[in-house]
């Protein structure tokens, strides 16, 4: 099995750029990734591309070949759609293709253009990640679904809005120095607690923003990197994916996300690494409660223990396990179909030492966790600095 290295990463500045087309966003991210990698475009043999709502947001289907064209890649391209885990799945597909020996150089990533629509339209588009018949028609919104999870969590395990506020405060603080982040302002616990309610018990500051952006990573086989003198100092050492019933009503508990448990178990076994090896984590915090469920599903905390992690200072930049040093979806932004690639790009920068928050990383192994919908899908990758 070929081992996989990250040769280069590229991101757009996340934020509100409603006029920028999806093809322009992805062209920018992929150009930055190829430049960072120092790999010729001609060497790329496939594009693995994530996108969720482009058929609604830009009325554009069949996006993958369009994005290859925009990136100047003369290769076959495939779009992965797994709601908010689309780009995580794209990276996983790319990793598998290199490992299997069928490709030596591939590009993976994703794009989402979201602010060209009204907030009502975007909210409606995001809701289609839920079960149309049993959830959407009953009035379940994306924040509403996570609110159902949050209330279930609070009633089963304890914790409350103030604990979640500390998650938001932490992730905003991490985003301040990140040049790619949408919200680079620190907030206080009171700001979060005083914000308007979106779906009780979640408020505005429990929610990630609506974001335009794209991500790209260039993955190469270790043998290609060595033969072509490619500087690729980070390896993808583990990959895992988990699935669950789509609708929350069909899960054993709305307060738990077992797809994450399964993805993590597979990734750790694949990598031959343990949780103690991990020195930094990027988790899918589309809502503050999602970070809590992720940390428990990944096995860093027992059920019920994760909610106080940020408040206790354990997951802050100076804590024992820094979580979302990029700012997370919460403050860095969440261009849905790009997020999984963005997490891998940020973790690569953190491990290489060229991220503004790299000083907080004390070790060589990082984990990324990308989730779809209310975690009916989860993709986990383990990255390791090898040089």
């Amino acid at each position: 099995m070929s081992r996989v290295r990250v040769a280069g990463v590229g991101l757009t500045e996340f934020g509100r750029t409603p006029e920028r087309t999806g093809r322009e966003l992805f062209a920018e991210a992929s150009a930055r990734a190829l430049d960072d990698a120092g790999v010729d475009r001609e060497a790329v043999s496939a594009l693995h591309y994530g996108n969720f709502m482009g058929a609604l947001g830009e009325r554009q289907g069949h996006q993958a070949p369009l994005m290859a064209e925009a990136a100047g890649l003369q290769c076959p391209a495939t779009r992965y759609e797994l709601a908010c885990a689309s780009a995580g799945a794209a990276v996983r597909g790319a990793v598998q293709s290199v490992r299997g020996g069928e490709a030596d150089v591939v590009v993976a990533g994703g794009m989402e253009r979201m602010t060209n629509r009204t907030i009502e339209e975007t909210t409606e588009a995001l809701a289609i990640a839920a079960d149309e018949l049993f959830e959407v028609r009953a009035g379940v919104t994306f924040p509403g679904a996570y609110a159902l999870m949050a209330r279930s969590y609070f009633e089963r395990f304890g914790g409350g809005p103030e604990d979640l506020a500390h998650v938001a405060v932490k992730n905003h603080a991490n985003a301040v120095p990140n040049e790619y982040a949408q919200y680079r302002e620190a907030i206080a616990v009171e700001d979060a607690l005083d914000a308007p309610t979106i779906a009780d018990p979640l408020g505005l500051y429990d929610s990630c923003p609506v974001t335009d952006g794209a991500s790209a990573v260039v993955l190469v086989s270790e043998s290609y990197a060595e033969a072509n003198d490619v500087d690729a100092a980070v390896a993808v050492v583990g990959s895992g994916q988990g699935g669950d019933r789509l609708a929350l009503q069909d899960r054993t508990s709305p307060a738990r996300t077992p797809a994450t448990d399964d993805a993590a178990a597979e990734a750790f076994a694949d990598a031959g690494r343990s949780r103690e090896d991990v020195c930094a984590v990027e988790v899918h915090d589309c809502f503050t409660i999602a970070e809590v469920c992720a940390l428990e599903g990944l096995g860093f905390y027992d059920p019920g223990e994760g909610v106080g992690a940020a408040r206790r200072g354990e997951t802050t930049a100076d804590g024992d396990l820094p979580v979302n040093l990029s700012g997370g979806l919460k403050a860095k932004g969440h261009p849905v179909g790009a997020t999984g690639g963005s997490q891998v790009a940020e973790m690569t920068r953190l491990l290489r030492g060229d991220h503004p928050n790299s000083d907080a990383v004390d070790g060589t192994v990082g984990l990324t966790h990308n989730a779809g919908g209310t975690v009916a899908s989860a993709v986990v990758h383990l990255l390791e600095a090898v040089e």
């Binding site: 009502e120 019933r245 929350l248």
Partner: protein
């Protein structure tokens, strides 16, 4: 483009709504006793294909709920509204909660499942009515 809003039924689901509307709501049960909701050909728990209809319990209770303040298109002008997952003897169903002030909803509250109307669209919607 505006999508035409032609009334094409969803087999299984709309039949189920018809039954719930007349107080004869059911769920699907496989030989091993796993419960699920239609439309289904296969038990999602064990893969059994021999699914039979069993009557839903009259009374359920709220498992979790949220008061939605920012709605989507079909619910924009109905905020704040309450959505709950309620359990009916092992079968969980998502629906709007009506017949009680939003601030008075709590987990464990008794409800019965009915079918109501979304006033904005005229569409049928699952409603958990407070008992």
């Amino acid at each position: 483009m505006t999508w035409t809003d032609e009334e094409i039924r969803d087999d299984g689901f709309d039949d189920w709504l018809d039954a719930v509307a007349t107080g004869e709501g059911y769920y699907l049960e496989c030989p091993d006793g796993h419960a699920s909701l239609p439309p289904r050909l296969v038990c999602p728990d064990c893969g059994a294909t021999d699914l039979s209809e069993a009557l839903l319990a009259d009374a359920g209770e709220v498992v979790t709920y949220t008061i939605v303040h920012v709605g989507t298109g079909a619910f924009d002008d109905q905020t704040p509204y309450v959505v709950a997952i309620a359990e009916f003897d092992g079968v969980r169903i998502t629906g709007l909660v009506r017949g009680v002030d939003p601030d008075d909803v709590e987990t464990g509250a008794p409800v019965e499942v009915t079918v109501g109307e979304n006033p904005a669209t005229g569409d049928r919607v699952v409603v958990h009515r407070a008992r």
